[in-house]
Amino acid sequence: MTTVAPMPELDRLLGEFADAWNAGERPRVQDFIDRAPAERRDELADLIEAFLAVAPTPRYSEETMAELMREPAVLASVESARGRSGLLPSLLPRLRERARLRRDEVVARLTATLRVPGAEPKMARYLHQLESGTLEAGGVSRRVLEALASILGARVEEIERAADAPGLGGGTGPAPAFMRSVEAFDAAAEPPVMASAPAARAPAADEDWDEVDRLFRGGRGDPSAW
C-alpha cells in the first residue's frame, strides 16, 4: 500500500463501488479502476482488493443469483466437485479455449497423435465424459494425458495433477443421468471405483474393449495402452 496523500476521487470511486457491490449490482472492478487517474490506479486496485477481502455477500436478486449459478467457471467447478474426473472438467475446457480449439478439433488431433484412425466418434465421447466429470480420471492412460498436454499447449504434470485431484465424493457419488444412457449401466448401483485399483477398471467378460477403451479406461500404467 502506498503512503501518498489520500485523494477524494479515489474515496468516491471506492464508495460507489462498495454501494454497487452491496446492492448486488455486480460492479465491474476494471471499469472503476479505469475511471481513476492513471497514476492512482494501482492504489485504487489495492483498496478494492482490501474491500473485497472483508465485503459481505451482496444482496443478489434471484435472477442475478441464477445468472451467477450458470457462469461457465462456476458450473465447471461444480462439475469437478461432483464428478469422477478430478479437476479435468474445469481444466480441459479452459485449456481448449486458450488454445482456441473446438472439441472436434481436439478429437481430430488426439486421434492422429494416438494413431487410432477412424476412432473419432468414440474419442469424442470419452473427451466429453472427461470434460463432464463422468469418466474416472484414474483410468486415463499417461499417453492420453501427454497427447492432451501437447495438443493444448500445457505441461503434462498440470493435467496429471488435475486428473489426480479428489472430488467431493471421491468417485463414489452418483453419475449424471446422461452417463447411464450412454454407458448403459446404473452408476448409482455400481460399487465405488478406486483410482488405484486396476481390477476395478477391468472390462466385464462380455465387454469388448478396443485400443481406445484401453487408452481411456485402462489406467495410467497399463502397458497394453502403449
Partner: protein, 233 residues
C-alpha cells in the same frame, strides 16, 4: 466454449441457506462419506461459489504481482485466470482446508486466488519467453508507459514477503480484531457497517456524517488495515 447446462441448477433449497450453513454442509459432506451428505455438499458448493464468483473475479482484476505492480492479469485473460482461481479454491478446500467458518473459507479463497494469479502471470511469461525475447524487455503498460518485465529473483523475494503476510491473516476474525484496534471510532463504525452491507448514504444517516466523509473514512480505514498487514510481516 462449454456446452450449456441442460438442467436448471438445483438451487431452491441451498440458496435459502446462509453462508455459514452452507460452509457447514460442505465440510460435513467432505468428511462424512455419506452419499446424501455428499449431494448436499455439492449443492452447497454450487451456491457458495456462485455467491463468491464476483469477489474472486474482482480479486483477479485487482491483482498486482507483489513488488511488481506493473505485472497483472491481462484483460483478455481475466476469465481464464478466474477459472484457474476457482480450480485452485476447490483443490485447496478439498485437500488442505481445515477451517469451518465463513471467514476462514473466504480467507482461503482469497489466498488461493492470489496464488492462482501469481501462477497465471508466471505461465504467461513462460509463454511469452517461448515466443521470444527477454524477460527484461520493455512492454507498454495500460497507461502507455514502457515498463520492464519483472526480474525473477526480485519477484520471488516479493512473493515470499507477501506469503508471510497472507499466512498471518488466514482468518477474517483477525481483520475484525484489526478494525477494533483502529484509533478512530467513526472509522471503526464505517468499516463495521460497510461489512454489514450498508451503503454510504445509510451509514451517513446513522452516524450523522456526510456521504463524502463516510467514503473518506472507509478508504482511510482500508489503507490503515493494509498498512498494518504490511508492517506485521
Amino acid at each position: 466454449m462449454r456446452d450449456p447446462s441442460p438442467d436448471p441448477p438445483r438451487i431452491p433449497e441451498a440458496a435459502r441457506l446462509s453462508d455459514s450453513e452452507l460452509v457447514r454442509l460442505f465440510v460435513r459432506g467432505r468428511e462424512s462419506g455419506d452419499r446424501q451428505d455428499w449431494d448436499r455438499a455439492v449443492d452447497a458448493w454450487h451456491v457458495l461459489v456462485a455467491r463468491d464468483y464476483e469477489r474472486i473475479r474482482g480479486l483477479v482484476v485487482a491483482f498486482r504481482f507483489p513488488g511488481h505492480s506493473e505485472v497483472r492479469i491481462d484483460r483478455d485473460e481475466i476469465d481464464s485466470a478466474t477459472h484457474e482461481a476457482l480450480e485452485r479454491c476447490l483443490r485447496s478446500l478439498l485437500t488442505s482446508f481445515l477451517g469451518r467458518s465463513v471467514g476462514e473459507l473466504r480467507a482461503a479463497m482469497r489466498t488461493a486466488t492470489h496464488y492462482a494469479c501469481q501462477d497465471h502471470c508466471r505461465a504467461q511469461m513462460r509463454r511469452e519467453q517461448g515466443i521470444g525475447g527477454s524477460i527484461d524487455d520493455l512492454r507498454t503498460s495500460d497507461e502507455g508507459q514502457d515498463v520492464g518485465r519483472f526480474d525473477r529473483e526480485l519477484g520471488d523475494l516479493a512473493e515470499r514477503r507477501h506469503l508471510a503476510r497472507t499466512e498471518g491473516t488466514e482468518d477474517l476474525d483477525e481483520v475484525a480484531a484489526a478494525i477494533e484496534a483502529l484509533p478512530n471510532e467513526n472509522m471503526r463504525q464505517v468499516l463495521r457497517l460497510r461489512a454489514e452491507g450498508y451503503s454510504s448514504k445509510e451509514i451517513a444517516g446513522r452516524l450523522e456524517l456526510s456521504p463524502t466523509n463516510v467514503d473518506q473514512l472507509h478508504s482511510r480505514g482500508l489503507r490503515r488495515l493494509n498498512d498494518d498487514r504490511g508492517s506485521d510481516a
